[in-house]
Structures are given as C-alpha cells and as structure tokens.
Point group: C2
C-alpha cells in the first residue's frame, strides 16, 4: 500500500442555502478544493461522494455521476461513486478515496460530501433522518434522532456524574469555536444559560444541545504522498483510516452509553498509525447532540468513562486546552449537512495542520483525528492526519 496525502480542501459556507441547489453546492466545494490543490478537473482520476439521502431530500439518486457531470468532467468519463452510511457518509467517502490511492489503482482522487436538507419541510427532514436508524424497529414506532440520543443522555446522566451545566458547556465551547469559523452556520457565542433555558426537544436535550438542519458541501483532493509536492507545499499525510459497524438499533447494544463502533474504529486507527491518545493535538468528533461529544471523547480513549463532562467544564477540550475538541465549531455550530460533515472534519484538520485556521488555530498542531458517526453509532469512521 502507498502512503496517501491530502493536497487540497474546499468547503462551502454551511447554512440554509435557499439560493443554492444540491448540484450548485457541490460544484462550489469541488472548485475550491481543485483551486487549493492547484489542479484542473481533468487531472482527477476518480471521485467518491458521501451523501445520505438525496433520494428523499431532492428526489435524486445516481449522485456520483450527477456530480462528475456538473463538475464538467463527463467527457473525461472518470469513475464517480456515491457512498452512504447516513451521517458518516462523508467519512466513508474519504476512506474510499484513501483506499483507492493506497491500492495504486488511481492517483488523484476527490472525496466530497454534500447534503441539501432545507428544500423539504422540517417534519419531512426529521423523518428522512430517521432512515439512519432501524425503520422497522425504531422509525416505525416514532423514534427520531433527538429521541434516541435523549435516551443515551438519560442513561448516561443516571450512571455518571454529568451535570446539566457540564453538558451545556459542550455547545457553549462549540459556538465559541464556530464564531471564529467563516463557514459556520452559527457564528454567535452563547452561554450556559442560553442552553439550559432553550426549548426542550427531547428530555434532557434542549434546542442548543442539538445540531441543526443544514445545506452544505465539502471536498478534499488526495494523492500518493510521493507525488504530493507536485501540487502543494503543504501536504497533509493520512496516517490511518478505520471504519467500524455496530447494531443499527440502540436497544440491541451492550451498553447505550458507549458507542462500541467508536471504540473499535478508534483502536484500529491508533494501531494503524502507531500512535496513542497522547500524540493527538486536536480532534473533530461527531457532536450531533451534546451527549455524543461526551461519549466520543471517552470512547476514543481520551479519558475514562464518566470523565468527559468534567474535562469539558475545566476547559481541557476548549481552544487553548490540552485537547481541543471541535475547533471547527463541530456539528453544533458549523451545522450538519449530513453527507458533508465527515469531509468538513477533514478540511478542518488540514487547515489546522497547515497552520491556516486563523482565530481558532491550535498552536503547533501536528497530528489530528476526525471521528464521524452514522446513526446512533452503527457506523463510525476514524481518520488520523499528520504533518
């Protein structure tokens, strides 16, 4: 297997993009990534696109070919493949691109993610997103994602000493970071009071514990490490790619407070990179709900079970802390266009490792991790990048 590097990144602003269609969003992100990599579209060998549910959001399947076409690449006939694993679709698209380059089959490969969610009513969005859970055992009886994660939060708070204020601090921190990220959907700082006094969505989760419905796209270009400096002075190496599955329903889990797929993918990634938790300078974790960030920090081995609330309260996971988590603003403040999120996480790591993250820069960042979750943890992708 060959070593692989990221040579270009691009990301649209995330938000309610009523003036941009599905296809415009990804062309914008793809163009930014190609420009960043100093390459023309015809130099691309193939493309992987992460998208959860364009079939239901915009009645369009066959996403890979659509994207290659609207990117102006149809006459080059390059392979274009959509991958889907709900909210981890972007992470899996990145993984497939890395595998393809590592295999030697292709050299210059684009991994992109896109979701256009605001063209349907919010009730339809919530039902479409429930397609990431088990339709027969969860969606059919009315379970939505806020409801499922509320069950995790309830069980967690019953078993471990996580206070309402500690949980709120996750969103407070991520809004602080998002306020410093030009692509974030929400660029306002908030307080613990904002969170604990916001509308109850699914007890104990309130509005500001939940990531929003978002339109957006992100793209990265990967190449063999040995060729990376043909295109960029700042290649970022892919040190590990790992992916794990678990039961699709929450009720079948060994323990709903632990995402075993996060544990497995995290362990495999550390093994592949030959690194451990202390080597990681920053992490982007999948904070679809505040409780998910708490679980992720623990499941990836950065602290013991039950300790992430205290770490968050103490500022360990804040910008300037020992382990900055979600410097991008996370899903909470950046927004969560589900297929794009996993690629946006990679974009954030690359910006940080290049030293180009501006007001949210982690000083001296050399190694970062991205953690992307599908559903309530039935799929998890973990990547480690380094310079």
């Amino acid at each position: 297997m060959r070593d692989v590097a990221v040579i270009g990144i691009g990301c649209t602003p995330f938000g309610e993009k009523w003036n941009s269609s599905f296809r415009h969003l990804f062309v914008e992100a793809g163009s930014l990534a190609l420009e960043d990599a100093n390459i023309a579209g015809e130099q691309i060998d193939s493309m992987y696109v992460g998208n959860m549910s364009a079939g239901r959001f915009v009645e369009q399947e066959h996403i890979g070919a659509l994207i290659a076409d609207y990117a102006g690449l149809a006459s080059h006939h390059i392979p274009a493949t959509r991958v889907e694993a709900a909210c981890s679709s972007g992470g899996l698209a990145f993984r497939q691109a890395v595998i393809s380059v590592a295999s030697g089959i292709e050299d210059i490969v684009v991994a992109a993610g896109v979701e256009k969610m605001t063209d349907v009513a919010s009730g339809a969005s919530v039902d479409t997103l429930a397609g990431a859970a088990d339709r027969e055992w969860e969606g059919f009886v009315g379970a939505t994602f806020p409801g499922l994660y509320a069950m995790i939060a309830t069980a967690y708070m019953d078993r471990y000493p996580l206070s309402r204020e500690q949980l709120a601090q996750v969103a407070v921190k991520n809004h602080y970071n998002g306020a410093r990220n030009p692509i974030a959907q929400f660029r306002q700082e908030i307080t613990v009071d904002t969170v604990v006094n916001s509308t109850l969505v699914a007890d104990p989760l309130r509005l500001f514990d939940c990531s929003p419905i978002t339109d957006g796209a992100a793209a990265v270009v990967v190449a063999p490490l040995e060729r990376a400096r043909e295109f960029t002075d700042t290649p970022v190496r892919v040190l590990a790619t790992a992916q794990a599955s678990d039961t699709i329903t929450l009720h079948d889990r060994r323990d709903i407070c632990t995402l075993d797929a996060s544990v497995a993918a995290g362990r495999w990634a550390f093994e592949m990179a030959g690194l451990s938790q202390k080597d990681i300078d920053l992490v982007e974790v999948h904070d679809c709900f505040a409780i998910a960030e708490i679980c992720a920090i623990e499941d990836l081995g950065f602290c013991k079970k039950g300790e992430a609330g205290v770490l968050t309260e103490q500022g360990v996971t804040a910008l300037g802390g020992d382990l900055p988590v979600n410097t991008s603003g996370g899903l909470k403040a950046c927004g969560h266009p589900v297929g794009a999120t996993g690629i946006k996480q990679v974009c954030e790591l690359v910006q940080q490792l290049r030293g180009e993250a501006g007001k949210r820069q982690v000083d001296g960042a050399e190694i970062g991790m991205a953690h992307n979750v599908g559903g309530t943890g039935a799929t998890v992708a973990v990547h480690i990048l380094g310079v």
Copy 2:
C-alpha cells in the same frame, strides 16, 4: 496491487417477494455466498452493498450497517459500506470490494446488492427509478426510463437497419435463457409474436422489450488469489475492473445511440486484462430495455455500430452461438432488482466459468465479461473474470 479472486456466490430467486422483507432478502443471499465459500461470517473483513433507493422504496438508509447487523456481524464491528450509482450500484459494490482486496487493506470481502421494489405502488416505483436520471431536466418534465430508452431506440432505428423483429429477438433469446435459470423471475419461453403484440409502453418499446420491477439480492465473496484455494477448489480470477461516467442527461450526449461510458469502461477493462473481444467466451450485458442490449454489444466492441440486430437475429448471441449474451436471462427474464443486478451478473459468470450453469452452460467457458449500466449510461461498470 494483489490479484483478486471470487471464492463464493449466492443469489436469491428474483421476483415479487411479498413474503420477504428488504433485510431478509440480503441475509438469504449472503448466507448462500458464505456457504458456497465455506467460510463463517466472522471471517469477513468488510462488506460493500450496492443499493439504489431503499430510502424511497422502504424508507431506510444506512444500508451497510443494517446489513452487517442483520447478518449477525455487528459484534465483529466489520466495516460495511453502501455504494450507489442507480442500476449499476451492484457493479460498483463489486468494484469497491475488488479494490479493497487488491490494496491489501482487507482480505475477505463480501460484495452484495439488494433491492426491494414491490412494497410501493408501480407509479411510485417508476418515479423512484426516475431518480437515476436528472431530476431537474428529465424527471421534472415527466421523463421515465421507458421514455428515455424509447428515444434511444427511435434514434437508433432511424439511423441503422434494426427491424422490429430483430429487436424483439433480444427478449426471445433472454426468455429462452431465463427459462433455464432457477433464479429467474420469468421462466417462460416467448416468441417474436409475444413481443410485437404486447402492450405498447413507450413507442417503439413494448412490454416485452422492458425489464420488470423485481425484488432480489445477490452476494459474492472475494479474496486475494494467493489465499483463494484455502476456501475453494474453483476460484475465479478478477482479470479487470473498470468504471466510467458520462453526462447524466441524454440530451447532453454526443450521440444517444452510443453509450460513451460503455465504450470507455470496456476499453479500460480490455487494457487492464490484456485481452481483446475475441478472448471473451460470454457476456452479461445490461438489457434494462432490448435496445440497451443492442447498444451494449456494439459499444463494447463486439461488432460495428448498427450490426448487433443482425447478430441477434442470426443467433450469434444465443446459447450455442459464438458470443452468448445474457445466458442468465439478463435483466429481461431474470428480473431487475436494481441494486442486485450487477452482482447477479458476476454470479452468472462464476457459475459459467466453474461449469456449474446446468442447462444454460456455455461449453468450455474460460473468460467472461459483465457490463452494468446506471441510468441511461451516466455510470458503467465492466468486469472481466477468468479461470
């Protein structure tokens, strides 16, 4: 890159399976493939699943994890990835499995395809399938797939000497083959009269020129060639994998009578295998409509443009002819559960190359090709297998 072999295959009967759910179908196919490969589920390193539109057919996304879970593999946490490219989703799943094993990242990988289409009304099916075309430029104005392929047929019959009877012979031949295939949806022989007197669907295409709506699943197991004989005495080598894209809309094509993605993927596959058309003993082509088989035979280079009708009439593409096409019965007689079709084609080749195809066996078959099309040719996957 490592050489890759198919070590096991499994396919459900295709048809209207009102007593089998989406998840039951793939568990059935997967179990058959594991049994055929003499392996247990826990020996699998990862899984790729081709599926076009479970989101709209059964309101379920996150297909990879769902399948790994219902296959009893959740506790092993193996990666499970859905790939989608409309009707070529299965071919792309096979390609991703081959790339993964070739890269050395994984050893024993399952490629599967599944579609459950009959749980919705036929109008909803037709609209969902239109998601394989461009929703904004084709679906929005009412174009359906019979309509799009009817435009291809009309242009083709205007330009080349293809008679109504020659076109009908495609379905007659495929029903003859399907009558000899235990998994086929339609196992009745038909005549040219049956076709030309059947209901007009979209002029000039009649009911028997069109593949049906079908439920079904298929799975294959691939492994490094060097390990294949640990599992089977009859490994079948993957000699080439190729994939090409084209414009998603028909009106943007250089020539709607030629699928340029078929031309490109076919050429790349022959180059990769170091073979030419004369080396191929049988081909499974994507006959979603009769005209598609005519185009495919020409686009893959087996004859000149405009000659496939005569070849079909003369029996060259029949069982016992010089180039048997769609010995399985093709999409026409086997049925076309869209995500499963590309994998079913591989299953057919493997059965033929092992000499296990019973009444439809091609004597001495050593090299076969599978050709899987998404939409009207915006995605094409071509694979060459050999013993």
